[in-house]
């Protein structure tokens, strides 16, 4: 697969055409066509093992074995489910890893302030909580001013309360920095809460591509929310048993 840095159109951040990937005899991606506009937040849903992360890795430029045409911005950043901080580097060193130049440290401090971790610059990663570590990973991504931010289930390992706070923080940061975002998740509610558009990956192809028209601030349980939720769940092959009020505690998301 060739990743080319050519600009396709001024308002487009990602174009993937005929993206295919096979592992052995298993065809995981069978021709995915995908476009993400600049500043657009797209969530990619799919069952586990459906190849969501394979798409993300291909867009990150990490998968040399994929085929197809992919155009992505030069600056890309990935936040994984594990924070993937280097345990032997202090928090600030992790944030500015690989950056040089006189402003690197100052930029790193700024990024840490944005994620609310001022004062933790000299901490060792192993002393951080899961949520704090993810915020450092977020700072490490944002300090690079990515044109494309790839989020690979970044909230998956967090407890419910921390996840709510992280959702709000990610929304706020994405509004400020305005990168194109691809969020890979298996959490339908999370996708609806955060994304401008939701894609569903089924059997190696994008089987659904819907804009999220629920008004912000979005609330789980709103009529439009529930309707989209049911549709996405049925696309994923799960019966939505919650016509009654949702089992979740009522959460409010301020943007």
């Amino acid at each position: 697969m060739m990743i080319q840095a050519t600009v396709v159109a001024p308002d487009v951040a990602v174009v993937a055409h005929g993206l295919r990937r096979t592992f052995g005899r298993r065809e995981v991606l069978r021709g995915v066509d995908l476009e993400i506009r600049r500043g657009e937040f797209v969530a990619l849903l799919g069952r586990s093992g459906s190849g969501k992360s394979t798409i993300l890795r291909a867009l990150a430029g990490l998968d040399r074995g994929a085929t197809g045409d992919v155009f992505v911005p030069q600056r890309r950043a990935v936040v994984y489910q594990d924070s993937r901080l280097l345990p032997w580097a202090r928090v600030l060193e992790n944030v500015v890893l690989g950056l040089d130049g006189p402003d690197a440290a100052a930029d790193g401090r700024n990024a840490l302030r944005e994620v609310g971790l001022t004062g933790h610059e000299r901490d060792w990663p192993k002393t951080l909580s899961g949520g704090e570590a993810q915020r450092v990973a977020l700072a490490r991504a944002l300090v690079r001013h990515p044109g494309l931010l790839l989020l690979d289930e970044p909230f998956g390992a967090l407890d419910a309360l921390t996840r709510i706070r992280m959702h709000a923080l990610v929304q706020q940061l994405c509004q400020r920095h305005d990168p194109a975002v691809l969020l890979v998740t298996h959490d339908v509610d999370e996708a609806i809460l955060l994304a401008d558009r939701v894609l569903v990956l089924t059997d190696g192809r994008l089987s659904l591509d819907v804009p999220v028209l629920v008004e912000r601030p979005r609330r789980i349980g709103d009529v439009a929310f529930s309707a989209l939720r049911s549709r996405l769940l049925s696309e994923l092959g799960v019966a939505d048993s919650s016509d009654a009020p949702p089992v979740h505690p009522r959460q409010e998301y301020l943007t």
Binding site: G61, L62, L86, A89, G98, W124, P125, K126, T127
Partner: protein, 296 residues
């Protein structure tokens, strides 16, 4: 919440005395946590007891040994009594013989390590980082490591004579293997997710080595270093007992000739202390170089 809060509050846990009479299966017991007056006292007692008990054990053994010597159960030419060992040590220090022997031995170990450790580490990094490096280096090292180093002594003497070079070369070679094997294993067991991170971030080759490979390899290298120190002392004793005109090993051989078991024990004690000191050195290195490892 502080402990005083717990005590002041009307908590049922605080209200139940620790060694109070059992009042049935529903009774609560106070956990003897650190910070409580009673608990501190017992902890201090125990740690003091442990230290002094260990000391008592050593003193007891030395005392038995002394008694056995006094009673004539152990003959002095077989094993000198502790007091005889101490006086022999004092005599060796007074004449300066022990110091010069120690100095000669330390120099050999130092140069052996100074050459062997960097050599092993560099070879391991080359083999660990590049495929061609592995093909060139690893097979050779894996083959050579099964050759007993002590068996190479004859070759070294043949090549380098009986001087210092032969001894230092043998120590260097022996030290190289534990360093190489542990460092190579550490390079190879670096979590591939960190390499992927380096790809995403776009770290260059040198940055990748400096930021990821070297720090990730350091703990394995230090394990190798600890083993290398032990090997260095072992080979030193061997080399010095075969052919040397100075050093602790030479002192031992000399004492053996004159049936001076007290001098032999002094030298052995020196080896033990030196081994202990190198271990402390590596532990200190670990503490200084691995501040991110929790529990240090």
């Amino acid at each position: 919440m502080t402990l005083s809060d717990v005590r002041a509050g009307p908590s049922p846990i605080a209200a139940t005395p620790i060694d109070g009479p059992p009042t049935g299966s529903s009774a609560l017991v106070k956990l003897p946590l650190a910070g409580a007056a009673v608990a501190t006292k017992t902890t201090r007692h125990r740690s003091l007891g442990k230290g002094s008990q260990r000391l008592i054990g050593v003193v007891l053994l030395l005392g038995l040994w002394e008694l056995a010597s006094l009673a004539g159960w152990i003959r002095p030419q077989e094993l000198a009594a502790p007091t005889a060992v101490v006086s022999a040590g004092a005599h060796l220090v007074a004449t300066g013989a022990l110091q010069s022997a120690l100095w000669a031995s330390l120099q050999r170990v130092f140069w052996g390590l100074a050459i062997g450790v960097p050599l092993g580490a560099v070879l391991a990094l080359l083999a660990g980082i590049s495929r061609s490096g592995e093909n060139l280096i690893d097979a050779n090292v894996q083959m050579l490591r099964f050759v007993p180093i002590i068996g190479l002594e004859s070759l070294f003497v043949l090549w380098l004579g009986v001087g210092e070079t032969a001894k230092i070369s043998m120590i260097s070679l022996g030290v190289m293997f534990p360093i190489y094997i542990n460092t190579f294993a550490a390079v190879r067991s670096i979590d591939p997710r960190y390499h992927e991170l380096a790809d995403v971030i776009g770290l260059g080759r040198w940055q990748r080595i400096r930021r990821i490979v070297l720090p990730a390899t350091l703990p394995g290298f230090l394990i190798g270093l600890r083993m290398a120190m032990a090997v260095a002392w072992l080979l030193l004793v061997f080399a010095e007992q075969i052919n040397a005109s100075s050093g602790l090993g030479y002192l031992i051989v000399e004492a053996q000739t004159y049936f001076q078991s007290n001098v032999i024990v002094v030298c052995l004690a020196c080896y033990a202390v030196l081994g202990l000191l190198t271990d402390v050195l590596v532990r200190t290195l670990e503490r200084v170089l691995l501040p991110w490892v929790p529990g240090r």
